[in-house]
Amino acid sequence: MQPYQEEYIANLREIAALAARKKTEGYSLTGYQEALVKNRMLIVQKVERNMELLREGLFPLLDHLLEAGEEELGQLQEFAGRLFQVGEELDVGLFCQIHQALLNCARLKKDQNGMIRELYWLGIGRNNRCSKLIGLEYPVIENYIFEMRLCFTEAGAYLKYFDEIEDSETRGYILRARANTALGQYASASEKIARVRQTLQILQDHYYQDKEPGLPWERYIFMAHRQMASSISYSRENVMTAEDVESVMESVYIVYQAHMQEAAERGEHPPIHSAFNYCAISYYCGLDTFDGLLTKTEHLMDTTEITDFSSENMYGMISLPAFYLQYLKQFPERIPGRMSYIENLYRRILDYVDVFPDAPENEMLFLYLRQLANNYIETADSIPYGAFLLKLLMRFAPDIYVQSYIVAKAAAAFCEMIVAEEPGFFDDIEEISRIEDLQEKKHEVGNFAMACGLLHDAGKINFINLYAQTGRQWFEEEYEMTRLHTIVGESCLRECASTRRYAAAALGHHSWYDGSHGYPDAYERLACRERQMVDVVSLVDWLENVTDAQCLFTGVRMTFDAAVKTAVSLEGRRFSPLLTARLRDGQIVAQLERAFAEGRKEACRQLYEEDFIFDHPAK
């Protein structure tokens, strides 16, 4: 690799380490706060350096890629490979940019092998993007799926010329691309399963095997069986045909047997993942009862160790509970008998997450946590869902937690000032309108604003890599993608009764007051009962963003005074005039600025003491 590429990668690792939660040992509160500020400054420096490296090193190369020599291209490919590899996700956005550029170059040069290879890698990068959208409805994410799938489709289309393409590596890419066309969600389970079935048919075909015996056929076939076995999640939706179940059953059996054998050779238990698939398919084939499946799943979850950070144990500790909860949601009558088990499960998971070594690049952990967050079941004594989400933010994206806390604090302060002046301001919200006592109303509105502020960015959990660990400004497509945090947040908060009230703030806080700009389209201001509160969160969040949080990614930074003036100038368009009118009052602005500063201090204290969970109104 080129020196600038090495330096960029080193900076990414350092940024990820700096952005992770800081250990508090050996620090006083003040020392800890100073350390956080110092870290932040270092991150800013590293990001700026990275931007320089890309501008001076990479971008000129991409601009003249057609003239680049073999050595330079090889280095670029190696650089891209280091940005995103198995178990380590340093910068998938840049990985995709580089492979897109290499693809364009290959197209122009009519380099067929290069095209096939680059289509494959671009598809892999885009698949990673799709995995961040777990929990969203298919129509919201289908665009991302199509972009990924079309890369694999195009590369896989060359299968017809398998004979004529002589390069072994390219033949491997063609087969893998063909297999990957089954990745991601499909409109129907059968469609996806049929796709994997065709892949298996091709891979098991001796015609192809004989043409290229050097390829790892056994591994390809095994991976396809694993892909088929993972389709078991569709069976929970009762949409599989008998033929589909049979295909899945066969693959599950093959994967299980292979894992059993490997485990036996090493003298270990069979891996949890395939053991669970085996239990699940036994249930779907009528070989086991639903309670039997639940009990076996519990048994598998109980075999996990809190100090084992292997991918299998992580699966059993976080992802398997997500499946378990999803089953229970389908049969809610089974929940009362398992409440204490569920409560313990959550505690164990949070303990595990807490001691999990700082491995911010471990995308699999985030993936599993997203699965869990999307299937959370709240019980009377369980950790409240809102608190669970905040714990995850605090653990993996402390900066986002601090920003959310500042927004919460400032929103609460602003709301209390508004209610003191105009008690009926939030009376569109039924629960607020019923309160007659002014003090009680102020308190309740303040609490509501606090919770909305804390949770308005809950959707960013899906994009932790982008928000907390990006070592450069965002590319346009990343910026587009982060917009989905509003929809993800809304969908997350709607999951549980205790957080449903705050979903509107998550959905609408980036929408313009006059509806002319902003996002998402799903938010209709006039149809929203909580719109005044959403307006407050929207304004305060914007002030926070332009004065601090987003500057690294968007390149916008203002002083507080300048931000207030800009907000007033956007009156009636971006922000509610009922709120910006109050920003003309110097006293209110001063109080708001104080709330911002206090909010930051308190958030840092909470990170230091880690005492936030059970004290917040979001519980």
Partner: protein, 554 residues
């Protein structure tokens, strides 16, 4: 003398009086008639006012109410914006009421004159579509506007009043059809018998709305008559629309017919004679014989596109799914027979059309023409579509002139070599042997192949095919389409024997398997027996043409 004079005087007086009485009686009759007319006019005025007052008051109430709400929330721009939008809607409706009344008055007083001016039927139908689609979309109705055979797009007539007729009828269908209902609009043309200057424009509008009772159907064209029921009480209207339509159609010497069943829906049929305008011939730059990829799930729409393309000598290849389209294009690129353009339709079976367009733009390069053929409003779609790589838009209903005109313009821009394509298409010099045992299949295949001009010979089974090939001079057959399951000798055996002959063309003649057996092993078996490729039955015309194009033009 005096008496006689008196007698004469009294007769004269009587006569004068009689005349006066008659005169008075006439005056009384006139006055009575005037009174009756006045009373009738008064009644009509009252009836009119009674009918109109509710209809006028409703939008006026909305205007007053929303103005008041807007004023009380003057600081909330979004709220005021919302109120103004509603005021605009109510005012537009009010304006249409006033226009209806004025139109009726013009018709009643014979002041309505019809214009005779040239107009484009395609433009007119497109304008109508733009007007009525949003109304139907608001009620989540399916509004299909399709056209049949339309040869004369340039006509002479009164486009303003023609539009009024059509918008009134379709607008009524939207109004009186429930949410999520279906409305089907159809336009076609036929030449007038014995009049070479005229064509008949045939139009129907069919809905599955509330329909009308037989009693109401009798009064549908009477002014101010409306369907009265709970369901219609909230629907705004004067009851003048149909009366105006009927008058206009009659003045245009056309006919209007209504069929309706209460609770099931209505169908309005209108036939209007139109004068044909002299055709303006625009030179099209279309590379005859070149292929065009159609990516569209809707078979009818794809068929329509294919027909228009075929009429100017272009070969279409149809794919319903985006993934299939990308696969086909990738393979076409590999084999060096890229189509000259891609038409993307309204929907695909697996993805959104803009995503396909975006990927194809990268796959095929910046010069490759990608046209969107859609019912959508281009103004709303333009930004996203052009970003996705679409570089031409053809609105629906699909007119041949629009499709070919846009395609020609884009192909002109992308610099496709017309002459080269022309040279590539000369299928009449090629000969095909079709081996097929079922007579019906033979007929269909011959029909499909013949439209390209290629010479087709038929063999009823494998043995006949071997014999024909054996007895033919070298290079006689350029291509063989071979069925697999046949009596006497199957396709595999026949192919093996042909390939085994001791003559130079035995190994080179291109043999294509035609069979419904489409598993991987069937394809392989066909290849192992010596066939070059495999197509599934039932054979798609576009697939056949694609093979001909590749073999003879590539």
């Amino acid at each position: 003398m005096h008496n006689s004079e008196n007698m004469e005087n009294s007769d004269q007086i009587i006569e004068v009086q009689r005349k006066r009485i008659a005169e008075l009686e006439r005056e009384i009759t006139t006055l009575k008639e005037a009174l009756m007319a006045a009373e009738e006019a008064n009644k009509a005025k009252s009836r009119f006012l009674s009918n109109m007052s509710h209809d006028i008051r409703t939008p006026m109430n909305a205007i007053m109410g929303m103005t008041s709400i807007g004023l009380s929330h003057i600081d909330e721009k979004a709220r005021v914006h919302d109120c103004l939008g509603k005021i605009q809607t109510a005012a537009t409706h009010l304006m249409s009421l006033v226009n209806d009344v004025l139109d009726m008055s013009r018709i009643d007083s014979d002041r309505l004159t019809l214009n005779e001016e040239p107009f484009s039927l395609a433009d007119l139908i497109h304008d109508i579509s733009v007007i009525v689609r949003p109304q139907a979309a608001q009620k989540k109705q399916t509004l299909k506007i399709e056209i049949g055979r339309i040869e004369e797009e340039d006509l002479i007539g009164d486009p303003l009043h023609l539009r009024q007729i059509l918008v009134n009828i379709i607008g009524n269908a939207v109004k009186y059809t429930q949410e999520a209902g279906e409305i089907e609009v159809w336009f076609a043309q036929r030449y007038a018998e014995g009049d070479s200057d005229r064509v008949w424009l045939d139009f129907y509008c069919k809905d599955n709305g509330m329909g009308m009772s037989p009693e109401f159907l009798q009064k549908i064209f009477v002014p101010f008559e409306r369907v009265h029921s709970e369901a219609t009480s909230k629907i705004e209207g004067t009851g003048l629309g149909m009366s105006i339509v009927k008058n206009l159609v009659e003045r245009m010497e056309g006919q209007i017919l209504v069929e309706s069943e209460e609770g099931a829906g209505s169908c309005f049929t209108v036939n209007l004679p139109m004068i044909m305008a002299p055709q303006e011939t625009t030179a099209l730059h279309l590379p005859e014989g070149a292929s065009v990829l159609i990516a569209e799930k809707r078979k009818e729409r794809a068929g329509q596109m294919a027909r228009y393309l075929r009429e100017v000598g272009l070969v279409s290849v149809h794919q319903e799914a985006g993934a299939q389209a990308v696969t086909w294009l990738t393979q076409a690129q590999y084999e060096g027979h890229m189509p000259c353009a891609m038409l993307v339709g309204e929907e695909l079976s697996d993805m959104q059309v803009l995503h396909l367009a975006s990927h194809v733009r990268q796959l095929a390069g910046k010069e490759f023409p990608i046209l969107l053929v859609s019912e959508a409003d281009w103004v709303q779609l333009e930004y996203r579509a052009t970003r996705a790589g679409i570089n031409g838009f053809v609105p629906c209903p699909l007119f041949k002139s629009r499709l070919l005109g846009t395609l020609s313009k884009l192909l002109g821009e992308s610099g496709v070599d017309d002459d080269q394509a022309q040279r590539e298409l000369d299928y009449s010099a090629y000969r095909i042997l079709l081996v097929e045992d079922i007579e019906l299949n033979q007929e269909i295949a011959v029909e499909l192949l013949s439209v390209t001009g290629v010479q087709v010979e038929v063999a009823d089974d494998g043995a006949q095919a071997v014999e024909k090939f054996e007895n033919s001079p070298e290079g006689y057959y350029d291509l063989i389409f071979m069925d697999i399951h046949m009596p006497v000798m199957d396709g595999y055996e026949a192919t093996r024997r042909i390939r085994g002959m001791d003559r130079p063309d035995a190994m080179t003649v291109w043999i294509v398997a035609m069979t419904a057996d489409a598993f991987v092993e069937d394809v392989r078996q066909a290849k192992e027996s010596g066939m070059n490729e495999h197509i599934s039955k039932p054979v798609e015309p576009s697939r056949l043409q694609e093979i001909l194009y590749r073999q003879f033009s590539g």
